[in-house]
């Protein structure tokens, strides 16, 4: 018994540290999972007319993806080819350019290709804050206006297979 107590304490502390330290501080759990998307209405890049609004997303019956991006964000360049692939697989991606100049967004799209179904500009970043965005890129999986999954940082193919696909599959049922 005397020897067992220090050993048990050691085990408990190791276990706590193992789980605690393997959490990534960059992954802040989203509050908005299974909540409706915040109301918004954003203009097109470099214009006044409507890009898209929350209503456009609510009427979508299939699974859609919202991607916050910016031309000044390096990981967005890393992620871009995979977004192109998702587009080719038939996913409908709505792009929101976050705190970016219209000219830079347009150049980014022209140089990197356009994976987006529609693009809107969130120049002051307020819509992003309502979504709980704390950095770009950030990606949301949405069905009928309900947020089902949020991914912070660039999507790698493995992330998509491990994290997105199971959720998308479940939603299809």
């Amino acid at each position: 018994m005397k020897k067992f107590i220090p050993f048990a304490t050691f085990c408990v502390i190791s276990l706590a540290l193992y789980t605690g330290l393997s959490l990534s501080p960059g992954n802040i759990p989203s509050e908005l999972i299974n909540d409706p998307i915040p109301e918004f209405s954003l203009p097109i890049v470099g214009g006044e007319s409507l890009g898209f609004s929350s209503i456009d997303l609510e009427v979508e019956e299939e699974v859609i993806i919202i991607n916050f991006f910016a031309s000044w964000c390096a990981p967005c360049y890393v992620e871009h080819p995979f977004l192109m692939e998702l587009k080719n697989q038939g996913y409908k991606i709505y792009g929101i350019s976050y705190k970016d100049k219209a000219r830079d967004t347009n150049r980014f799209i022209k140089e990197q290709g356009n994976p987006y179904y529609k693009i809107a500009a969130d120049e002051d970043g307020r819509v992003a804050i309502n979504f709980g965005v704390y950095g770009v890129p950030e990606t949301y999986v949405i069905q009928e206006g309900i947020i089902r999954y949020k991914h912070a940082g660039p999507i790698h193919e493995m992330d998509f297979e491990d994290k997105f696909l199971p959720i998308i599959k479940r939603m299809g049922e």
Partner: protein, 155 residues
Amino acid sequence: MKFFLSFTLFIIITFAAYAVGVDEKQLADPASEIRAQEIMKQLRCLVCQNQSIVDSDAPLAKDLREIVRERITAGDTDEEVLFFMTKRYGDWVLLKPPFDRTTIILWLSPLLLLLIGFFVIYRNQSQRKFLAVSSPLNKDEEKRLRALLDERADD
């Protein structure tokens, strides 16, 4: 003179510690501004995670400071402003976690450890008391003791 100069310099430098949110417009009403600053001190910057949004230069922190001031101007209570933030960013945005079901271990663990400490001390203490109680010497032991003492007296 030298003292005066260095003293002035010292005062100027220490004022930098009070420079808070200078990058944006503060609220005209000083009382509201103080309230806004108090709220900002409680909010974690999500980009540089161990700073409050008051201390952070990150653009997102600046936006959040702006929002805090806007909400205060709009007449929100402190709780309503904090709720606005936790609704979007979760309890994580609060530098001081709230006391609820998920954080009960966090809040009570110091007390728990203290109690465990007391228990350990109590147990050790009672064991020591047991050891310290001496039984009177029996006949043999008394004889040996006498012999040893006599031996010393002979030296």
